[in-house]
Amino acid sequence: MSKLFAVALGILTAIGGFVDIGDLVTNAVVGSRFGMSLAWVVLIGVVGICIYAQMSGRVAAVSGRATFEIIRERLGPRAGLANLAASFLINLLTVTAEIGGVALALQLATSVAPGWWIPVAAFGVWIVIWRARFKLLENVTGLLGLTLIVFAVALFMLSPDWGQLAGQALQPGPPSDEPVATYWFYAVALFGAAMTPYEVFFFSSGAIEEQWTKQDLAKSRLNVLVGFPLGGLLSLAIAGCAAVVLLPQAIDVTSLSQVVLPVAEAGGKVALAFVIVGILAATFGAALETTLSSGYTLAQYFGWSWGKFRKPAKAARFHLSMIIALLIAVAILATGVDPILVTEYSVVFSAVALPLTYLPILIIANDREYMGDEVNGRAMNFVGQVYLVIILAAAIAAIPLLIVTGAGA
């Protein structure tokens, strides 16, 4: 059990990246429209986030500096501010979506309209951030989020034609009834979700919350190697379930209730109970992750005091900015906007934030003044640079694809 708790940070971080409310739905959309033909993107994304999360965790453990401090230091105030603005908007849109997502998950459990749950969910997120220790927060949400593994179990119980699924996965490319641009739009969206910047902000800041040192490098590696592949696996299992149950019925997924249909089909009420608990934990965990990330990024850019290991009064602006972020999220949701739709526009901001986040991490991971002997090896640098090129390509392609496809319609 204590082994499991040791990797809670990695699991919670990955949940925010791979199976938060936007991704739950996106994965099912992808499965219901493209089968498994986008599985390769998830694979590339998992490797990419593993590499850069590990780098950011190593920098945090060895030098004690969290990712946004490094971004400010290497990029200077202007490019740093561009990244801050984009990252903060991604955080804010995601917080909004997750609070809506918690409300939608509660609706599945109670059939009470989500509007009633929104203030409850937002208050819940705030009170946890205000009062709960970091360790408690990550253990509970990380552990409960693991119940999402029921998607993988459900996929087995559906006893699909594995050959067909593998065939889809091994022959990348859009099905005949989908335009090529739409296929690539979802490819970029899945890659962007896998590498979304708040993962490294949260992971590196979490490493400092947990007071990792050079002695914890193995722990950091374990967190990365357990958390993100697990996230990728869940993401594929969700797509697989949708491909098996919903694709043949011509059901294009548009809502969370459709995402859980295959699980109920496979495992009945027990599986459904697990998946609802899992979704609740995942969306709540992702809400915590993105709310904290919005505080971390602001505080680290401006050099404010931050961290949950301090009393709130000793990190006042950090806590104030998170309260404001939550209030804005509730205000956005009060307009009645579809929370899942909100996350689609964060792709636009990812185009700015992705390269400006990963470049400074790669540079600092090579700086002996920060890292001493723990600088990147040649292999790590090679892969890191390859990914930087992929990130840049995805960033440049994101906006034209968003327009051409009308956000994947």
């Binding site: 709960a132 505080a299 050099g303 404010w304 009393k311 709130p312 006042a316 602006r317």
Partner: protein
């Protein structure tokens, strides 16, 4: 490394007497921590003493020194250009600095500095008034 050796004549720099720092590379935009490792601010700019704009520098005159870390409005100036009125800049005197590494360490408590007034104000008037704000998380 030098592709253009004719452009100038290169001498080896004289051996340094103390720690050598490049201001932009090693100091600017780094985190400032107080005596107890509490973040104070980011080094938004440095104030240099002993440079007079437009005046010729007599050979052998004393070299300029770093007199303060500047913050607050100075960040806006660096973002958008221009000069903040001297009265509005927030200074952390350089003599309070105890160590410069990947962070800048001060030898004093942050609470006593002008640079933390906004933090203290928010703490006293907003965050500290919310129940639980003055207790460590459980």
């Amino acid at each position: 490394m030098t592709e253009n050796p004719d452009a100038f004549q290169t001498d080896a720099a004289p051996p340094p007497a103390g720690q050598v720092l490049d201001a932009h590379l090693h100091v600017l935009d780094r985190q400032v921590l107080d005596r107890d490792d509490v973040p104070v601010t980011t080094a938004d700019d440095l104030e240099l003493d002993g440079i007079e704009v437009g005046a010729p520098i007599e050979p052998g005159s004393p070299r300029p020194t770093v007199s303060a870390i500047l913050t607050g409005p100075q960040l806006v100036m660096r973002l958008f250009g221009g000069h903040a009125p001297a009265a509005r800049t927030i200074r952390i005197p350089w003599r309070l600095v105890s160590e410069v590494g990947t962070v800048i360490h001060l030898g004093v408590a942050g609470d006593a500095l002008d640079a933390t007034w906004a933090e203290r104000w928010v703490s006293r008037h907003l965050i500290g008034r919310i129940p639980g704000g003055r207790h460590a998380p459980e």
